[in-house]
C-alpha cells in the first residue's frame, strides 16, 4: 500500500449557471415569447446537463480548473479560500456527490463525508431510528451501528430521549446527536465541510476537541473551513483555492497569511470607470461620516455610513439594493435594504445617491467587508463583492469600556434596567 491516501489529478468541474433571459421590447414580442416560452424553457433545462459546443458560452463557469494535490495517510489538510473558490465543489467530487468534468481522484481507504450534520434525520422517527438511518447513510453497516450505538448515544448526551420522536428534540440536541454519529465513523478518510459552524460555543469546542482526537488517531482528514483559526490549529498543511485553482499548498501558517494578505487591502472608496448599458448598476461607493463627508478612518467611536451611487436606465417596478456587511471570515453580520427605513426605489431613469448610516459607534476593532448588490426582478443586475473593506481602530467606546478586550463582532448599546424586587432575609 502506498503512502498516499488521496491523490487528485487535474480535476476540473464545469457548471452552467442560469443566464438571464432577453426581455421583450414590445407587446407582440412579449406575447410571442410567452407562447414560445415552453420551447425555450425546455432548451434551457436541457442545457443544464449538456455542454456541447459550450466552450464559448458565457453562462458556463469553471468551479474547479486543473486541481492536483496529494494527501498522505494520517495527514490533516485544510482547504481555505473565499466563497465560490471551489472548496465545497472539490469535497463534493471526492465524496462522489457530483462527478468531475475531467481529471480524476484516487482514494485509498474507506471514505466518509460529512457535509452536513444529521443528513436524513426525520422529525417523525425516534432518536434511535434516526441514528441508524443517518449512520448507514454515512456508510456504516447495521452491525457496526449496533456495536457503537451506546457509545454514540452516550457521547451525544441525549440518552433519556433516545426513544422520543425527533420533533420533540431541541435544535441543540438534534445537532449533538448528528455530530455524535459523525464522530464515530470508522472511515480512514474523513471529508469535513464547515460542520463546526453549527451549534453553540461549547458544542463547537467539543467538535474541535473530537477533531483533534480523530487527527491524532492517524486518520486522514480533508477539512474545509472559513474559520482560519480552526484550520491553523488542526491542519499542518493547507491548500488555498482561488477561482477554482490552487494558489498555495504549504504549511498552514504560511498559506493562511498569504490568504489574509491577498484579501482586499483597506479600501474606503470604490469607483466604476466604465458604464453598464441597459442595466441598473453601481457607480460609486464611499465611506462617509454622519455629516455626509468622505471619511478617511474608522474607529470604534465613529459614526459612519456609506454613499452608494446607482445608475438606473429606466423605472423598474421590482428593484432592490442590498448592503451586506461581513467580518474578515466572510461571516455575514447583517443585510440592509433602503426599505428598512422606508426609502423607496427610483421612479424614473437617472443617477441616484443612496446613503446608509450604520448605528452609532457600531464596529469593533477588526476588519469588515462590505458587499453591495442591485437586483432587478430578483435577478442580480450588478454586484460588487468586497466593495469596501475597512480596519476599525480602537478608540474610547463601548468596545474599550468594562474590560480591555470585549468580544463580539459588533458593539451594541442595549437598554438595561434594574428593579428593586424584595428584601434580603
Amino acid at each position: 500500500m502506498s503512502n498516499i491516501a488521496v491523490q487528485v489529478e487535474n480535476l476540473s468541474k464545469r457548471y452552467r449557471i442560469g443566464l438571464k433571459d432577453k426581455l421583450p421590447d414590445s407587446l407582440s414580442e412579449a406575447a410571442f415569447s410567452w407562447i414560445t416560452s415552453p420551447i425555450s424553457n425546455f432548451k434551457n433545462l436541457r442545457k443544464l446537463s449538456s455542454f456541447y459546443d459550450s466552450e464559448n458560452d458565457d453562462d458556463v463557469i469553471w468551479a474547479l480548473k486543473g486541481v492536483s494535490f496529494e494527501v498522505k495517510h494520517g495527514e490533516v489538510i485544510g482547504f481555505i479560500g473565499r466563497n465560490g473558490a471551489g472548496k465545497s465543489t472539490l469535497l463534493k467530487i471526492i465524496s462522489r456527490i457530483t462527478k468531475p468534468t475531467s481529471g480524476r481522484a484516487i482514494l485509498e481507504g474507506r471514505v466518509a463525508s460529512l457535509l452536513e450534520v444529521g443528513t436524513g434525520f426525520h422529525a417523525d422517527l425516534t432518536g434511535r431510528e434516526n441514528v441508524y438511518l443517518n449512520a448507514t447513510m454515512l456508510g456504516m453497516s447495521k452491525r457496526e451501528v449496533d456495536r457503537k450505538f451506546d457509545e454514540i448515544v452516550h457521547f451525544s448526551g441525549v440518552e433519556k430521549f433516545i426513544d422520543t420522536p425527533f420533533k420533540r428534540y431541541s435544535s441543540g440536541m438534534k445537532v449533538r446527536l448528528g455530530f455524535s454519529v459523525a464522530a464515530h465513523l470508522e472511515a480512514e478518510i474523513l471529508l469535513i465541510d464547515e460542520v463546526l459552524s453549527v451549534g453553540d460555543l461549547v458544542f463547537q469546542q467539543k467538535c474541535i476537541g473530537r477533531m483533534q482526537e480523530i487527527a491524532s488517531e492517524g486518520r486522514t482528514v480533508l477539512f474545509v473551513s472559513h474559520d482560519l483559526a480552526a484550520v491553523e490549529r488542526l491542519c499542518q498543511r493547507s491548500v488555498l483555492l482561488v477561482n477554482g485553482k490552487i494558489e498555495a499548498n504549504d504549511e498552514s501558517r504560511d498559506v493562511i497569511s498569504k490568504y489574509i494578505g491577498m484579501e482586499t487591502l483597506p479600501n474606503l472608496e470604490w469607483l466604476r470607470e466604465d458604464s453598464i448599458p441597459d442595466h441598473a448598476y453601481l457607480r460609486r461607493i464611499t465611506m462617509i461620516d454622519y455629516a455626509g463627508n468622505k471619511t478617511g478612518n474608522v474607529t470604534t467611536a465613529s459614526n459612519v455610513g456609506m454613499e452608494i451611487e446607482c445608475v438606473v436606465p429606466e423605472h423598474y417596478p421590482n428593484m432592490k439594493i442590498v448592503v451586506v456587511v461581513r467580518d474578515s471570515n466572510e461571516t455575514p453580520i447583517f443585510f440592509s435594504y433602503p426599505i428598512d427605513s422606508d426609502v423607496s426605489y427610483p421612479e424614473k431613469a437617472g443617477s441616484y445617491v443612496y446613503r446608509i448610516f450604520f448605528p452609532e459607534a457600531f464596529f469593533m476593532p477588526k476588519r469588515y467587508l462590505v458587499t453591495v448588490a442591485v437586483y432587478v426582478n430578483r435577478i442580480w443586475s450588478d454586484s460588487v463583492e468586497r466593495a469596501l473593506s475597512f480596519d476599525v481602530q480602537a478608540a474610547a467606546s463601548l468596545a474599550t469600556l468594562e474590560g480591555k478586550a470585549r468580544k463580539g463582532i459588533v458593539q451594541v448599546r442595549c437598554r438595561w434596567d434594574c428593579l428593586y424586587s424584595s428584601n434580603v432575609e
Partner: protein, 294 residues
C-alpha cells in the same frame, strides 16, 4: 480527458465488516459509460435501503387519526365510488361478478401501482438532501416507496377476503400464480418509478403532470371495465401496457371471471422488463447531474 466508465472499483469490495475496514481503493472520474446496475454497490448499501423503507412505513400514518385504516379506506372508498358510478349508473359490464368485487380486485394492484409511482416520482425532489449531502446509490431513493407501499397492499388484501366471503366467491386454482403476478406488479412500479423520478429532477413539469398521467393510466387499465371489451385484434397491442395483464391476472386468480390472460401477461412482462432496464439506464445517465441541477 478521460472517458472511461466512472467509479470503477479497482479492487473487489467485500460486504463483511472486517473486509470493509481493509484497503479499499476508489477511482473517481467523469462518467461516459452505460453501466446499468452496480449490484455490488447496492449490496453494500442495503442497510440504507432497509432503514429508508422502514422510515417510509413508520412515518406514513404518523399523526393521523385513522392510522393504518387509511390503507384499507383508500381502495374501499374508490370501490364504493366506482360501484355507484360505473356499476349502477353506467351499467358497466363486470363479467358476471358483483361490481364491487370486480372493481376491488382490480383496485388492489392499481392502488399499489399508483401510490408507489406517485411517491417514486416525487421521491428525489422531496429528499434532495439525500443526494446533495451524502453519497449512496441514488437508485435506492425511488425504489424505497416501491417496497414501502407493499404494506398498504398487504393490508387491503384482508378486506378482499371479507368481501369474497360476503359474496360467496371462491378463488380459483390460478391463485398459485398470484406471487408471480405480485412480483411482476412490483417490477412495473419500479420501472415506471425510475423513469418518472429521473426526469422529475431536471423537468419539474413531471410533478405537475403526474396526477394526470396516473389518472389517464387508470382509465386505460381494465380497472373499472373488463379487458374483454378490447377488440380481439388489438389485444396483444393492449398487452404492451403491462398493468393490463396484471389486473386481469388478479381477476383470474381471485374471482375467476376469465382464464389466466397469459398473452397479456407475457407481452406485458416483456414491455415491463424493457421499461425497467431503459429506466435504470436513464436514471444512471441522469444520476450524475442530480446534485448539479437540483
Amino acid at each position: 480527458m478521460k472517458t472511461t466508465p466512472a467509479m470503477r472499483k479497482l479492487s473487489s469490495v467485500a460486504d463483511s465488516d472486517e473486509q470493509r475496514k481493509g484497503t479499499m481503493r476508489m477511482l473517481i472520474e467523469p462518467s461516459k459509460g452505460w453501466q446499468i446496475l452496480n449490484i455490488q454497490e447496492l449490496r453494500r448499501y442495503k442497510a440504507v435501503f432497509y432503514f429508508l423503507v422502514l422510515r417510509d412505513i413508520t412515518v406514513l400514518y404518523k399523526q393521523t387519526v385513522l392510522g393504518y385504516a387509511w390503507a384499507v379506506l383508500r381502495p374501499l372508498l374508490s370501490m364504493v365510488i366506482f360501484s355507484v358510478i360505473f356499476g349502477r349508473l353506467a351499467k358497466m359490464p363486470s363479467d358476471g361478478i358483483p361490481y364491487p368485487v370486480f372493481s376491488y380486485v382490480a383496485l388492489l394492484p392499481w392502488t399499489y401501482f399508483s401510490s408507489a409511482l406517485t411517491a417514486a416520482s416525487t421521491s428525489l425532489l422531496s429528499d434532495t438532501k439525500l443526494f446533495t449531502k451524502v453519497y449512496f446509490p441514488r437508485l435506492i431513493i425511488p425504489l424505497t416507496p416501491v417496497v414501502a407501499k407493499l404494506v398498504d397492499f398487504g393490508i387491503s388484501f384482508v378486506i378482499l377476503g371479507g368481501m369474497m366471503l360476503w359474496y360467496h366467491i371462491a378463488p380459483t386454482r390460478n391463485l398459485i400464480f398470484l406471487p408471480f403476478l405480485i412480483a411482476d406488479m412490483i417490477l412495473i412500479a419500479a420501472a415506471a418509478g425510475l423513469w418518472m423520478a429521473a426526469s422529475s429532477i431536471q423537468y419539474r413539469d413531471i410533478k405537475h403532470a403526474s396526477p394526470f398521467i396516473i389518472q389517464l393510466l387508470m382509465y386505460a387499465a381494465p380497472v373499472v371495465w373488463p379487458a374483454s371489451l378490447v377488440p380481439e385484434r388489438f389485444r396483444l397491442l393492449y398487452g404492451l401496457y403491462p398493468m393490463a395483464g396484471i389486473i386481469e391476472g388478479f381477476r383470474s386468480a381471485l374471482i375467476g371471471t376469465n382464464p389466466m390472460p397469459w398473452d397479456l401477461i407475457l407481452v406485458g412482462t416483456i414491455s415491463a422488463l424493457a421499461l425497467f432496464f431503459t429506466g435504470a439506464l436513464y436514471f444512471h445517465r441522469k444520476e450524475d447531474i442530480f446534485a448539479d441541477v437540483v
